[in-house]
């Protein structure tokens, strides 16, 4: 079973090198005539005002936080799903209880207004 990861490693190597080969070929073929105006940042014909890397809304952070909880839940549930046929009824109910606890978390976030996009 483990030797299959040898194939994954070789594929990863080729897949990682391949895009750079394309970029290298393009680098050989393309014209290179940069000038300050051409390299300026695209902004509908006017110059960008102020710094680009500004503070962003906390809304994105809230969603990311809720996402982390559910993603970890998913990681825990995949082994449960694979071993499902061998599990006893008790174990299945425990897993369902686990899902329900997280569902309560979702309802809490919902009622708190964390899922409202303002």
């Amino acid at each position: 079973m483990l030797e299959q990861y040898g194939f994954i490693a070789i594929l990863a190597l080729i897949a990682a090198v391949f895009p750079f080969v394309g970029l290298a070929v393009a680098w050989l073929l393309r014209p290179k005539r940069p000038n300050p105006l051409k390299n300026s940042i695209y902004e509908c014909g006017i110059e960008t005002i102020g710094e680009t890397w500004v503070q962003f809304r906390a809304q994105y952070y809230l969603f990311a936080l809720v996402f982390v909880i559910f993603d970890i839940e998913a990681i825990f549930l995949f082994p449960f799903a694979v071993a499902f046929n061998q599990l006893t009824l008790f174990a299945v109910f425990e897993a369902i209880l686990f899902v329900l606890i997280l569902a309560v978390g979702l309802i809490y976030a919902w009622r708190k207004g964390a899922l409202e996009w303002q």
Binding site: F7, R30, I41, W53, V92
Partner: protein, 399 residues
């Protein structure tokens, strides 16, 4: 020649014998086989993109009463090749003050993550790069690398449109990953394996009626909706909404770097339809596939093309959602629906009903959830419409 003996694995056996006769010992032989398999996989994937771009443009054109590409080659088939050559020779403009390393790595990472997911797609019985026992988890893991590539591109471009696009990528791809993962978990629950080939094998009963799309349409619906969002396709293409943020995270990219993002986008769409085919449409299953295994490739590609066609159809007909609608649809509709579906599926499968009846029970449960979910969604929509109408109706003075 006996056609029933034609098996794609026979080709592999003959190939191995030929190499061994040439005096290549097993450790080196395995490595050579891996390299050949990886190159073939990449070759198939990259060449398919050329056809897919043409296909999607033609489909969209026909739906919107246009002709589509029809100048270069027969039926415009070579249009994509011409476009690729043009992009290869275009000047590459890097914006001033861009974060150079991140800026140049992002397109390569975008291509890398899609090519990696090709490894676990079963083209026919046993014709698979690596039949990992964590196949579904592998796909989910490499799928989330894609959102990182888009965020890197948006962040490094030193452009405000690109930055907003990058934030939207995070918000959208992370949110829709949850319903996608839960929808993928339900076939895993029923098949009892995460191997992609095993999932396709498990759907072979009842001659096509055993496909999970018939048994669990609600899971398929959640998967399809999440696929549209994960593939950055309309109606969920907010992260490249050209009317709002011009082109989103890849606005500052030109030449070959843009070509890589374009390729990654189309190949990702195809990979997602291939995953959908394997999980819900029976993969390589089809009539006579047990006697002529090579037919599996034909069935698999036919099914992925149908799925891709549906994605293109949706893209050509639906208007784009607003960002709050998109987030609401995910968190307030798809995620609760997926959680309820998962719990219900686990209980029904644990009841231990005899063979055809457990499928029927699952079907009834899925249809009930689908109808009930949409009924509740309609009610909520109605309430929102009334609320906004009340807010805009001028208050008449009471007499």
């Amino acid at each position: 020649m006996d056609w029933s003996q034609i098996d794609l694995r026979t080709v592999g056996v003959l190939w191995n014998q030929a190499l061994q006769n040439a005096g290549i010992a097993p450790p080196l032989l395995t490595v050579i086989n891996w390299v050949v398999a990886a190159v073939v996989l990449l070759f198939v994937g990259l060449n398919m993109v050329i056809g897919l771009i043409w296909l999607e443009r033609k489909i969209a054109a026909r739906i919107q009463d246009r002709l589509g590409p029809n100048r270069v080659g027969p039926f415009g088939l070579l249009q994509t090749v011409a476009d690729a050559l043009k992009l290869l020779t275009k000047e590459d403009v890097t914006p001033t003050d861009a974060d150079r390393i991140t800026y140049n790595l992002a397109p390569a990472l975008a291509v890398f993550h899609v090519l990696m997911t090709l490894a676990v797609i079963p083209f026919a019985d046993g014709v698979i790069g690596a039949d990992l026992n964590v196949g579904v988890l592998y796909i989910v893991a490499f799928g989330s690398v894609g959102s990182m590539a888009a965020l890197m591109a948006g962040w490094a471009s030193n452009n405000k449109y690109a930055l907003v696009g990058g934030f939207r990528v995070v918000a959208q791809l992370l949110s829709y990953e949850i319903p996608l993962v839960f929808a993928m978990m339900i076939p895993v629950l029923a098949a009892g394996t995460m191997r992609m080939n095993g999932l396709a094998e498990a759907q072979g009963q009842f001659g096509g009626l055993g496909w999970y799309v018939w048994v669990m349409p609600c899971a398929f619906f959640i998967f399809l909706a999440a696929t549209l969002a994960e593939g950055e396709r309309a109606p969920f293409d907010l992260l490249e909404a050209e009317s709002e943020i011009v082109a989103g995270f890849n606005i500052e990219y030109s030449g070959m770097k843009f070509a890589w993002f374009f390729l990654a986008f189309f190949l990702n769409s195809w990979v997602l339809s291939a995953i959908g085919t394997t999980l819900f449409l029976g993969g390589w299953q089809g009539p006579f596939v047990d006697r002529i295994p090579a037919l599996g490739v034909v069935y698999f590609f036919a099914k992925t093309m149908v799925m891709f066609w549906v994605l293109a159809w949706i893209r050509a007909t639906f208007p784009r959602l607003r960002i709050d609608q998109m987030m609401d649809f995910c968190w307030k509709f798809l995620v609760p629906l997926a959680l309820v579906l998962l719990v219900g599926t686990a209980i029904i499968l644990k009841l231990g009903l005899p063979s055809p009846f457990d499928g029927l029970a699952l079907l009834v449960w899925n249809l009930a959830l689908l109808i009930g979910g949409f009924w509740l969604l309609g009610k909520a929509q109605q309430r929102a419409v009334y609320a906004s109408k009340r807010a805009f109706t001028p208050q008449l003075p009471r007499l």
